[in-house]
């Protein structure tokens, strides 16, 4: 096993990818995309509990990596259209830029830690006021009634506005995984057996494809579908093995995405 790494160490997809690439860095010209992709996917595999927020980022990057790897495996494979190819390079460059940024802050963090360690050798004086000055200091309880105190507690306990905005970029994905589940629970029993490509045929956005993929995985986890793949990069075959059409009790599967 070339990469003995534990997922818990890796906070995010960039972290993991950086590690995989830089640990290959013995000789720049021996860096192997293939092994990086394998390591990355192995690590994904090992994450038994995939948080949806995290999974989306990981999968987006995995998708780019796999595309890059496919390209490399198939030299002169020229029936792809130019737009797609340019898009792949653009994604690759974005990924590179983000990796560089991630590495920059990692090194900056190491320096902050060094500074904190140095500064930590010198301890501040915190003794504060000597008793004889305490009566001089303005008293925070001057003129304060028990009711004022209770009001102060309410102020302290009242949650500051929770910055919900931050989750907005994730929220629509959750919603659409649920939607996708609902659609698939209707679509799949009718189709019986189908392919992933077929299921995502009319979805153009990468995100939509991933959302459908997550929904299929969810159904698989619940034992509602069987997934079969004919070799690496073969078509994903999906077969419905759940209750017959019309029996919708299993829609509760969607609850976890509420």
């Amino acid at each position: 096993m070339p990469y003995e790494v534990s997922t818990s160490v890796f906070e995010g997809p960039f972290d993991l990818l950086l590690h995989l690439i830089t640990s290959e860095q013995v000789d720049v010209y021996e860096v192997s995309l293939s092994r990086i992709v394998d390591g990355y996917l192995a690590e994904l595999d090992r994450m038994d509990h995939l948080d949806l927020d995290v999974a989306t980022e990981f999968l987006l990057i995995a998708a780019t990596l796999i595309e890059l790897k496919t390209k490399r495996l198939l030299p002169g494979h020229d029936d792809t259209d130019l737009d797609e190819e340019l898009q792949l390079y653009a994604e690759r460059d974005t990924l590179l830029a983000r990796l560089l940024e991630c590495k920059t802050f990692k090194d900056a963090a190491a320096d902050l830690e060094r500074m904190a360690r140095l500064a930590g050798r010198s301890h501040p004086r915190m003794a504060g006021l000597e008793e004889r000055f305490i009566d001089v200091a303005p008293d925070i309880l001057a003129g304060v009634t028990p009711a004022d105190l209770a009001n102060a507690l309410v102020r302290a306990l009242t949650p500051k506005p929770v910055p919900r905005v931050d989750l907005d970029h994730v929220a629509p994905i959750r919603a659409s995984v649920r939607d996708a589940l609902e659609e698939l629970v209707i679509e799949l029993p009718r189709a019986g057996r189908t392919t992933f490509r077929h299921l995502t045929g009319h979805h153009r956005e990468r995100l939509e494809v991933i959302v459908r993929f997550l929904a299929v995985l969810e159904l698989y986890k619940r034992g509602l579908v069987d997934i079969d793949q004919a070799g690496n990069f073969g078509e994903l075959q999906i077969a419905w093995v759940g209750p017959a059409e019309g029996d919708r009790e299993d829609l509760s599967t969607a609850d976890m995405y509420d």
Binding site: D51, D53, H123, P124, R125, M126, A127, G128, L129, E130, R132, F133, I134, V136, A137, P138, D139, I140, L141, V144, T145, P146, A147, D148, L149, A150, N151, A152, L153, V154, R155, A156, L157, T158, P159, K160, P161, V162, R164, L167
Partner: protein, 188 residues
């Protein structure tokens, strides 16, 4: 050239929040309390000879640095005009948390306020409104704080039971919802 031991005494007394007994200093520096006393006397003399604005005194059985009594007018001005106003709102909130949630650790107070409360807690302690009441029996044995008798006296209360009941101030449904949402976001 000052000796390592002398310098170590200065360093320890500089960060100590309470007078430090010569026994403890002796233990830390592996020397007799007698020797500690001799070194401390030397230091006190040196500060006086150098005309420093601080003194090294023996008080309550231990040694500590203090501002020079000559300079009390400046210190008083500092106390009056210095940091007080900025602290008061935060101090009152912190005091309310300790009053209603005692016994409570500094970390718990910080978590409730959402900001580090160490400095404010220290001020309240120096003021005598908050005091150590116990240790958390769990791992880490955090110091737990509660309010003092002085606190009750200043508020004109006989006991903590006379604090306005918390139930009257239970946050309304919209606040509860916001809280829950916040918690859920945290659990993700």
């Amino acid at each position: 050239m000052a000796s390592e031991e002398t310098r170590a005494i200065e360093a320890i007394l500089m960060v100590a929040e309470e007078p430090v007994e010569p026994q403890l200093l002796g233990q830390l520096l592996e020397m007799s309390p007698k020797k500690v006393e001799a070194l401390c006397a030397e230091l006190a003399d040196a500060y006086e000879a150098d005309d420093r604005g601080f003194v090294l005194v023996r008080v309550a059985g231990g040694y500590r640095f203090q501002s020079h009594p000559d300079l009390a007018p400046y210190v008083e001005r500092f106390v009056l005009e210095g940091q007080s106003a900025r602290l008061s709102a935060a101090a009152l909130e912190t005091l309310a948390i300790v009053a209603y949630k005692q016994p409570v650790s500094r970390a718990q107070v910080s978590a409730i306020r959402g900001v580090n409360a160490d400095a404010v807690m220290r001020t309240l302690q120096v003021r005598g409104y908050v005091e150590e009441v116990a240790r958390d029996p769990g791992p880490g044995q955090a110091v737990l704080y509660g309010t003092s008798r002085l606190f009750l006296e200043r508020l004109g209360l006989d006991s903590l039971d006379n604090l306005p009941p918390l139930a009257e101030f239970v946050p309304g449904p919209e606040v509860m919802e916001a809280l829950e949402q916040g918690l859920r976001a945290e659990a993700d």
